[in-house]
């Protein structure tokens, strides 16, 4: 690791957190409830408009978009953030990381266990953070090149299309659960049988809901609703996959070895989070739809701070990074996304 005054870095970032934490309160509670209200509005307007497609196909298109926005809000700004524990302090029976379950194929508690622990604790440590490339893509020289990497761009496109299923499969460490692959130093906190049960039960619920029950409720408009749900899910998958890839796999994102991170101090942990993530510039609506993961750096530094506070602390974080000579990886959507695609293609080859 580079020579940075890690103790000072930790002190400065802790102070940023402390300052914003004293402000967290009514405004944040009102905000998340407001987002939930809008999510319900988008979801239900979408579901109703899908059925009006037989009368005016344009309404169906609006319905698909509205449902997709509802699903994106549920997945990103609500589900992801609430399940991170960002709103646990509210003491709300439903808006907390223990109770919240999102509208995607991946079972919330399995995601919570792997994402919040493995990914957020061991961010970009090769061999410990399974999220780096999801075991499917070679995104750095830390991984040996294999022939299958030649067509990893197609793998990436397929993963994005089926992202909710990919996440679900990945979070349960399916290669171990289904195919018995062994990994050292991993204790199974949840049994394989339990993981399989959660995978199938949540997945089945999602399939039955979107592709059987809601279409059946529409009667003769079965197909309109079936196809609408399919496209809305597809749009949500593409969006979340793209945003998440932009947060971790842009060109300048660093990886770390287990050796480098042994006995890491708080400052070194912050440093790793800083270099393991990248931000996206955009307008407020864009940040909301990304669940504020467009501030992936701030999210990785302070994962349980209400995400709506990230834009407020970003300039302070950037200033601190500058002072320590740490690269603050940010850029517009197309630039960052372009560099993700470049990285996927670059590492397709030896």
């Amino acid at each position: 690791m580079k020579q940075v005054n890690f103790d000072q870095l930790a002190l400065q970032l802790d102070e940023v957190k402390q300052q914003v934490q004293t402000k967290v309160g009514q405004e944040d509670a009102n905000y998340i409830r407001k987002v939930i209200v809008w999510q319900r509005v988008y979801e239900w307007s979408g579901r109703i408009l899908l059925m009006l497609g037989f009368w005016q196909p344009l309404l169906w298109v609006v319905g698909v978009l509205s449902l997709a926005i509802g699903k994106i809000l549920d997945n990103m700004e609500i589900g992801h953030n609430v399940m991170h524990g960002q709103y646990d302090w509210m003491n709300d029976k439903f808006i907390n990381s223990r109770a919240y379950e999102w509208d995607i194929a991946c079972d919330g508690s399995s995601w919570n266990r792997v994402h919040n622990y493995e990914h957020h604790t061991y961010t970009n440590i090769i061999g410990k953070d399974r999220d780096f490339g999801y075991g499917l893509l070679r995104l750095s020289n830390d991984f040996r090149w294999r022939v299958k990497n030649l067509w990893q761009f197609i793998t990436y496109v397929l993963l994005s299309v089926l992202f909710q299923w990919g996440v679900s499969y990945h979070e349960m460490a399916a290669e171990r659960v289904f195919f018995g692959k062994k990994k050292d130093n991993r204790d199974n906190k949840v049994s394989h049988a339990e993981l399989k049960k959660r995978f199938f039960s949540k997945g089945a619920k999602q399939l039955v809901k979107d592709y059987i029950i809601f279409p059946l409720l529409a009667g003769p408009l079965f197909l309109w609703v079936f196809c609408g749900n399919l496209i809305a899910n597809l749009l949500r998958n593409l969006w979340t996959s793209t945003i998440i890839f932009c947060g971790h796999f842009t060109e300048h994102v660093h990886t770390f070895t287990e050796e480098e991170c042994k006995n890491e101090s708080k400052g070194q942990w912050y440093y790793r989070q800083a270099l393991g993530s990248s931000n996206l510039k955009g307008r407020t609506w864009f940040h909301i739809l990304t669940g504020h993961l467009s501030f992936q750096i701030e999210h990785h530094l302070f994962p349980d701070l209400p995400a709506k506070r990230y834009p407020e602390i970003a300039p302070k974080v950037q200033q601190i990074f500058q002072q320590h000579g740490i690269h603050y990886n940010t850029g517009g959507f197309w630039r960052q996304y372009g560099s993700v695609l470049k990285r996927i293609i670059r590492y397709s080859f030896p």
Binding site: E27, R33, K34, W102, D103, N116, H120
Partner: protein, 347 residues
């Protein structure tokens, strides 16, 4: 019907119950509407003395009528956080039937997490209340009753006296302990004395008058009703046992840290599977691990929330910033908290 709604909710709305899914939407039309709670509107807030408030609430129509002496849990949103406390209702059912209102008399504590904010509640704003609870009610069959109150423990007796008919044959004597000049609602007690010919009361304070035992007329006490602090409750229990007087009591133990967090101490932790004793010098997670308690955890540094559990009761200290938690139900992270009082946890 409930089962069908739960099934639909779980499978179509990925929520434990439907009300949870729609709650934020319903709140747009009905402020503070919460599943599992009743709503009540703040109708007046009156400062009784330096550290006591009288709050008058108008519960929504479907709230069940209480019996004098019962208590409720009052939940308010303070800085976005829902906090609940239990209070005895300080008015009778008669008043509720006539006016639709109930009174709460609340001692405020400057450093508390809840009561200092109650005075800031806006008029006509909404709070949440539970259904009335408790068995501490007046027995009209008894002919001679002695009431023993301490501090804000006067509230259930005010409610009971409020509901008594003027022609009651019951002889009631109230011994009311509080700090000098700290007795609450004395003018109300005086009114009761005029309205109820068989009612009398004495205002006492511990430093000047000593123990209540010398003021209880054993031959004129068929039953002793006690509402006050823990020590009063314990003393009354012993007294009644020795004199064979039936006793009924209500007391709410205020849980506060008993010693400085720097002093080593051990506290009891009640778990859903067995109890244990922990030190206040280490994190709860380390303590549980050293006792071989099966506990889920991850990062051990407060990031991943894997060690999170529900604290039902007690106060914990956040190791990261030294802040103390509230005493009520909330989620805590075992790896970054230490016990400051006895605790009750659900792992």
């Amino acid at each position: 019907m409930q089962n069908i709604s739960r099934f639909i909710s779980k499978n179509l709305f990925h929520h434990k119950d439907l009300t949870g899914y729609f709650e934020p939407v319903l709140q747009v039309f009905k402020p503070s509407w919460r599943s599992g709670y009743f709503r009540a509107q703040v109708k007046s807030i009156r400062v009784l003395c330096e550290n006591a408030l009288k709050i008058t609430l108008k519960p929504e129509r479907k709230w069940p009528i209480h019996t004098a002496g019962q208590h409720i849990s009052l939940t308010t949103e303070q800085q976005g956080r829902l906090i609940s406390r239990v209070f005895t209702i300080a008015s009778g059912a008669k008043k509720l039937k006539e006016t639709g209102l109930i009174d709460l008399v609340i001692r405020t504590h400057d450093k508390g997490n809840f009561t200092p904010y109650l005075g800031e509640l806006a008029m006509n704003s909404w709070v949440n209340i539970s259904e009335p609870m408790g068995e501490f009610i007046f027995d009209e069959q008894s002919n001679h009753t002695t009431l023993l109150a301490g501090g804000s423990g006067i509230t259930p007796f005010i409610a009971m006296l409020d509901d008594l008919q003027a022609n009651t044959q019951n002889h009631i004597h109230l011994l009311y302990y509080a700090k000098p000049n700290g007795h609450l609602m004395v003018e109300v007690l005086e009114k009761f004395m005029t309205a109820l010919p068989n009612f009398s009361f004495e205002l006492l304070h511990r430093s000047g008058h000593g123990s209540f035992t010398k003021y209880v007329s054993v031959e004129h006490t068929e039953e002793l009703l006690v509402c006050g602090p823990e020590e009063m409750f314990v003393e009354a229990g012993k007294f009644c046992k020795s004199r064979q007087i039936p006793i009924r009591a209500e007391h709410f133990q205020a849980i506060r840290p008993t010693q400085s967090v720097n002093e080593a101490a051990r506290f009891k932790v009640k778990l859903n599977h067995g109890d244990l004793e922990v030190s206040n010098q280490d994190s709860l997670l380390s303590e549980f691990q050293s006792h071989n308690k099966p506990v889920t955890y991850g990062c051990g540094m407060g990031i991943c929330h894997q060690c999170q559990c529900l604290k039902k009761k007690g106060i914990v200290r956040d190791i990261r910033d030294g802040s103390l938690s509230d005493n009520s139900e909330e989620l805590i992270q075992l790896c970054v908290t230490q016990a400051v009082t006895d605790l009750e946890l659900e792992l």
